[in-house]
């Protein structure tokens, strides 16, 4: 197929305007998604009670059995346990399906309920932000993120077509050239180097929430039966209570061992169950389900689940999925990144940062091109304020969320808000403040907000040291490495922000010194569409 200039032009305006319209949302998704790569490590930083080392192969019976034996369960109620891991050493215990939902964290050694830091942490704030934007009204957040994800795929495709010399762009970064040129170089380079991530993240993200976006059409092969579709995809079966007493499980560990042996033999690699469920405890139709949702040696997620009948040990259900569904589960598992590979986790983190850099430089380039072309100053100011708040503002706000966590105590309240709500409020107040600041400070906004990031990211490790005594070298003990690494990344972020601010100051000074001149005719693919 020959790519005509007409086609390239149409891809140019599609790339430019889709990027501008959705860049704020895309940056929020990429930034929060990047933080989510290490959400459990940030949790450790924000919740000191989770900074413990744990034996992940520890028997579960000493913790699980007392809960099952001591509890009084309602008909249809289910009990759920998440086994401890290196990244999340506490055991999650939840009861649902009854009149009251309960959720606690148990200490892996004592089995006692751990009094937790009253915080959403990264797992309940950064994590859901990247796929729902915390907009719950009619599921609107999911739809906005879904649309932005499709837009990201479109941006990737149109971006490829725009470039006449894609391989040359790959190797071109000229930081000494004028700001507009080096910004575009950086945009192209981060886009091309991290292209697999720019396609994988949105594609797998849409797949994870596919049943939100296409609930009816996906269930057509099941005759429109959504419950059947859900059961086929997830493997979850609802077991109704018989209403008659039945045997209690004598041991959960025996089922874990059996399930892991089956999966290990089936896959040819060591399996490790992560979730346990007991439906209808003490009922004749009680079922114990063992899951390997995120296997340490397996990328595909949610593929392994075996249910046993307590007493007889009979296998009630052995969930298996087909090859095509497995391919989809593989992509979804790659997005969740719960398999045991720190190298890949860091690679994803860098891929996410590359995505953030790509979006930010795309915005900067667009603005610099517009200023040269004499666009209305008010329009430029509006876009600049929005983009500064969307890029540097959300980074500063994320840091403020973490700083607030270290400054507040569980007893802190203000205006009826508890600690967890105050941390979230700190995020939104700082974020909103950055938009207002950007509106007032115009050209200086990006640079000044870089300094704000530098201060916040620099203060966070010091506050961590003061409030918990853990600081890099001291934190390099079992169970605390994640805290040390979080501190190191915060210090690196602070240093990067200082460098960014200084570079921007230099660029501003050069721009002020230069006389304003008419723009040269832009080469195709170099300047954004009008």
């Amino acid at each position: 197929m020959r790519i005509t200039d007409e086609f390239r032009k149409s891809m140019n305006w599609l790339h430019t305007w889709t990027g501008i319209a959705l860049s704020s949302i895309l940056f929020a998704m990429f930034w929060m998604g990047t933080l989510t790569v290490f959400h459990l490590e940030i949790n450790k930083w924000m919740m000191p009670e989770t900074r413990i080392a744990v034996d992940t192969t520890m028997p579960m019976d000493p913790v699980v059995m007392p809960q099952l034996e001591a509890g009084t369960f309602e008909e249809g109620e289910q009990v759920f346990f998440a086994r401890p891991s290196e990244r999340m050493p506490l055991i999650r215990y939840a009861r649902f399906g009854g009149s009251e939902r309960q959720s606690h964290f148990l200490h892996p050694e004592t089995g006692e309920i751990v009094e937790r830091t009253n915080s959403h942490g990264a797992s309940d704030f950064f994590y859901p932000f990247h796929f729902s934007l915390h907009i719950s009204w009619m599921g609107l957040g999911y739809w906005i993120v879904g649309l932005a994800s499709v837009a990201m795929l479109v941006l990737a495709v149109s971006g490829i077509f725009i470039h006449r010399k894609i391989f040359q762009d790959f190797f071109s970064f000229r930081p000494k050239k004028q700001a507009r040129r080096s910004t575009l170089d950086l945009h192209n380079m981060t886009a091309i180097i991290a292209l697999p991530f720019h396609i994988l993240f949105p594609l797998s993200g849409i797949l994870i929430f596919a049943l939100v976006y296409f609930p009816d059409s996906a269930s057509v092969p099941f005759g429109g039966d959504r419950a059947a579709l859900n059961e086929t995809r997830s493997g979850f079966t609802t077991y109704e209570a018989a209403g008659e007493p039945g045997p209690m499980p004598q041991s959960i560990d025996q089922y874990i061992d059996r399930a892991e042996a089956i999966w290990t033999e089936r896959d040819g690699r060591t399996a490790h169950a992560d979730y346990l469920r007991v439906a209808n405890v003490g009922d004749a139709n009680s079922v114990v389900t063992i899951q390997q949702s995120f296997g340490p040696k397996k990328v595909a997620r949610g593929t392994d689940m075996i249910s046993f009948r307590p007493g007889t040990g009979e296998v009630v259900k052995d969930f298996e999925i087909g090859k095509i569904r497995h391919a989809s589960a593989y992509l979804e598992g790659a997005h969740f990144l719960r398999f045991d590979s720190w190298a890949v986790r860091w690679l994803f983190f860098l891929g996410g940062l590359a995505g953030c850099a790509m979006i930010a430089t795309g915005l900067l380039f667009w603005m610099r091109a517009r200023i040269k072309k004499g666009m209305e100053p008010t329009s430029v100011r509006v876009v600049r304020a929005l983009s500064a708040g969307s890029v540097t503002g959300i980074i500063a706000a994320s840091g403020a969320f973490m700083v607030a966590n270290r400054l507040l105590t569980n007893e802190s309240t203000l205006g009826g808000l508890d600690r967890a709500a105050l941390e979230v409020a700190a995020f939104y107040v700082v974020w909103l403040g950055t938009f207002i600041h950007a509106g007032i400070r115009d050209k200086a906004a990006w640079r000044e907000q870089m300094w704000l990031i530098a201060v916040i990211a620099g203060a966070a490790p010091i506050l961590n040291w003061i409030t918990t005594g853990g600081f890099i070298v001291g934190a390099l003990q079992p169970g605390q490495v994640a805290v040390a690494m979080t501190d190191v990344v915060l210090i690196a972020a602070s240093a990067a922000a200082v460098m960014g601010a200084r570079r921007m100051a230099k660029t501003e000074a050069l721009e002020r010194a230069k006389p304003v001149r008419a723009p040269r005719a832009a080469a195709a693919g170099l300047a954004p569409a009008e």
Partner: protein, 97 residues
């Protein structure tokens, strides 16, 4: 109606609307009808649904690109809207259940 007579902002708005709204409807119809057809041909419903979803996402993105690039906006609109209507309406009748 010729697209040449439309002001550029209107034409581009139409293209984006066709790409997003039309693209979603097209992809939704594609997922339903392809899943139903594959299921009718003997593929397990879960597998049919999975492959239709996987391909459907690319189809959606493809329609957005097509709507932006087409030189015959009216014909493209007719194809996108026509297929979306046809596929969404007939998919349940193709399914074997």
């Amino acid at each position: 109606m010729s697209t040449m007579t439309l002001p550029q902002p209107v034409e581009r708005s139409l293209r984006l609307a066709l790409g997003t709204i039309g693209g979603y409807a097209f992809a939704n119809g594609f997922i339903g009808s392809t899943g139903a057809l594959l299921s009718r041909l003997g593929l397990a419903p879960g597998e049919a649904s999975s492959i239709a979803l996987l391909v459907g996402i690319f189809v959606f993105a493809g329609i957005v690109v097509w709507a932006a690039a087409t030189t015959r906006l009216l014909i493209t609109s007719a194809v996108v809207v026509g297929y979306a209507l046809l596929a969404n309406l007939t998919a349940p009748y193709i399914a074997p259940v």
